[in-house]
């Protein structure tokens, strides 16, 4: 098998990629203008018509889409085709306000899975491999995306989903898994469990791992590689654009190749919206080029990164993006789940707590921890530990319903959370995920 899944596109000349993108962009803009009233209104407001978009050089003329637009248009407002033509939805984990629901036609699913297949082949995958998918399955895009990609490559696919780590390792041993796909923190946890079980990387056959859906560091990569005896590859994506596989790493491990035949990337200044030249650090913006059901033009990811067209030793010509270096909003990714402080605040206020709170995110044993400190009000104080613990538990439950992950709630005395002058510091992220 080739070292590329689709060599004809993955190694095409930059001129050809740009020509292909221009051709597809014209069609995609027309498709959106004709079918998505929400975006047509945005274009009309800006005085742009599909005729103004003749090539990728005209991209800057189009209006941006943000997560707020997705929220406004929820659930069907950005749909580009009749629901009858759709076969799937996937969703982000946020349950209120910020939820994103993406729709797919069968063609959309196929192209998405092809993107994931490219990532698997770039990690050395062939039809002789056994690919263990330990991303969550369900609405989350991780499991379904890599599962589909693995099928496309022809790997023997183990749809494990996440959790039950000892069983994961048992399967790994019994069925000789060679590739593992999961979040980097779960990979690190599997590595630790392997050791606890008295096993070494020599006892398993893994050679590669494809890890994404949350930020991770180079240091973490080396740890995972050592503990599992593999080469660890990064993969990037977001539900809005399909899921994992928007970009993927090759053996050079110096950034992720963007699947440019399907996604057109730009870097902008998050403050002004101005397009920045290649090599600048700024906010990553994606335009879908082939989407039928959920086409997004100039979608602002809020991820801060750098694009580079430097020649890659792997032979792929697709532009590379750096690992996201931060966010241009206050979103955190905790255990693979997108979390906004405002979601937590909404629950606190609804449950009758003060809006003076502190969110502390850390990583213990490679698993993210979420601690929320909230001040008790006089009415909420009772003289029994049972009473206060019950409050903590009930508040944690309400937050879990909102976020989909379990926090640890600590009720504290009034005025113990530091009041800041000016902009309140609500979040302390101790994970040091960005250099």
């Amino acid at each position: 098998m080739s070292k590329y899944y689709q060599p004809e596109v993955e190694t095409m000349s930059v001129e050809d990629i740009k020509a292909l993108q221009s051709e597809k962009l014209v069609k995609q803009v027309k498709h959106v203008y004709e079918n998505v009233k929400y975006y047509r209104d945005l274009m009309d407001e800006k005085g742009v018509t599909p005729d103004d978009i003749k090539s990728i050089d005209d991209l800057y003329k189009l209006p941006f889409l943000t997560k707020a637009d997705l929220r406004d248009a929820y659930p069907y407002g950005l749909l580009g085709t009749d629901l009858k033509n759709c076969v799937r939805i996937q969703s982000t984990s946020g349950t209120t306000g910020r939820r994103v629901v993406a729709f797919y036609t069968q063609k959309d699913v196929d192209l998405w899975e092809e993107c994931c297949a490219r990532a698997i082949v770039a990690a050395g995958g062939t039809n002789g491999d056994v690919c263990q998918v330990a991303y969550g399955y369900g609405l989350f895009t991780g499991g379904p995306g890599l599962n589909g990609g693995s099928h496309k490559v022809g790997c023997l696919t183990l749809p494990m989903s996440s959790g039950n780590t000892e069983r994961q390792i048992q399967f790994m041993q019994d069925l000789h898994s060679t590739i593992i796909c999961c979040t980097p923190s779960y990979a690190a946890y599997i590595g630790e469990t392997l050791k606890e079980m008295g096993l070494t990387p020599d006892d398993i056959d893994l050679k590669a791992g494809i890890f994404g859906a949350e930020p991770w560091t180079e240091e973490m990569r080396r740890d995972i590689e050592k503990s599992l005896g593999i080469k660890a590859y990064d993969i990037y994506g977001l539900t809005e654009t399909s899921g994992p596989g928007v970009s993927f790493e090759c053996e050079e491990q110096t950034g992720m190749h963007i699947n440019e035949d399907h996604f057109l990337a730009e870097i902008i200044d998050p403050e002004t919206g101005e397009v920045l030249p290649e090599g600048s650090k700024g906010e990553l913006v994606f335009t879908s080029l082939d989407k039928e059901a959920f086409p997004l033009l100039r979608y602002r990811t809020r991820d801060i990164c750098v694009l580079s067209r430097k020649k890659c030793s792997c032979g792929r010509t697709f532009i590379k993006m750096s690992k996201p270096m931060g966010r241009s909003d206050d979103m955190m990714i905790i255990r693979g789940v997108n979390v906004f402080p405002s979601q937590i605040e909404t629950v606190l206020i609804k449950e009758g707590y003060s809006s003076n709170y502190l969110i502390e995110v850390d990583r213990e044993h490679n698993t993210d921890t979420l601690d929320i400190y909230v001040e008790l009000t006089p009415e909420q104080f009772s003289d029994t530990v049972k009473g206060i613990s019950a409050r903590e538990k009930s508040l944690a439950g309400a937050i879990k319903i909102m976020l989909g992950i379990n926090p640890k709630v600590h009720l504290v005395a009034p005025k113990t959370i530091t009041r800041s002058e000016g902009k309140a510091v609500r979040v302390v992220d101790k994970r040091k995920l960005h250099d």
Partner: protein, 142 residues
């Protein structure tokens, strides 16, 4: 015949008990009895003092979370089994005990603070078992 108890929320951190007890001392507040419940994060300091309203305002002014609760004080002979007879009487009346602590032992009588959900039912159950409950008029003269 209930007694007022004041409870104070304190963070489970070094020096917090010293701070609140210094505040009480500086205001000439005499602590007749106390108990502390603690968890990893916080503690609840429960106090029996005279003039609980004054104590409450001193603590509140200093920014503490407080709550005043009616508790029972049971007086039984200071023998082995003193707690057992109280606990059994309440169990038999289907009353759950939140917590118990000792207030004082004077003249071979032990005075126990008992916190239950329903003081009336509990006091009746104790009376039925021949256990006396006493009020503030008694405990502050011990």
């Amino acid at each position: 015949m209930a007694v007022k108890q004041i409870s104070v929320f304190i963070q489970n951190k070094k020096g917090r008990l010293a701070k609140v007890s210094r505040l009480l001392a500086d205001n000439n507040i005499y602590i007749r009895a106390l108990s502390i419940a603690d968890t990893q994060d916080f503690g609840i300091l429960r106090l029996i003092c005279e003039d609980v309203e004054n104590v409450n305002s001193v603590l509140k002014e200093a920014g503490y979370l407080t709550t005043i609760t009616d508790v029972l004080v049971a007086a039984v002979k200071d023998d082995a089994g003193a707690l057992a007879i109280i606990a059994e009487a309440l169990r038999d009346a289907d009353v759950s005990i939140e917590y118990v602590y000792e207030l004082a032992t004077v003249d071979n009588i032990v005075y126990l603070v008992v916190r239950v959900d329903d003081n009336k039912v509990a006091a009746a159950a104790l009376a039925g078992a021949g256990i006396k409950t006493v009020g503030e008029d008694v405990i502050f003269k011990l």
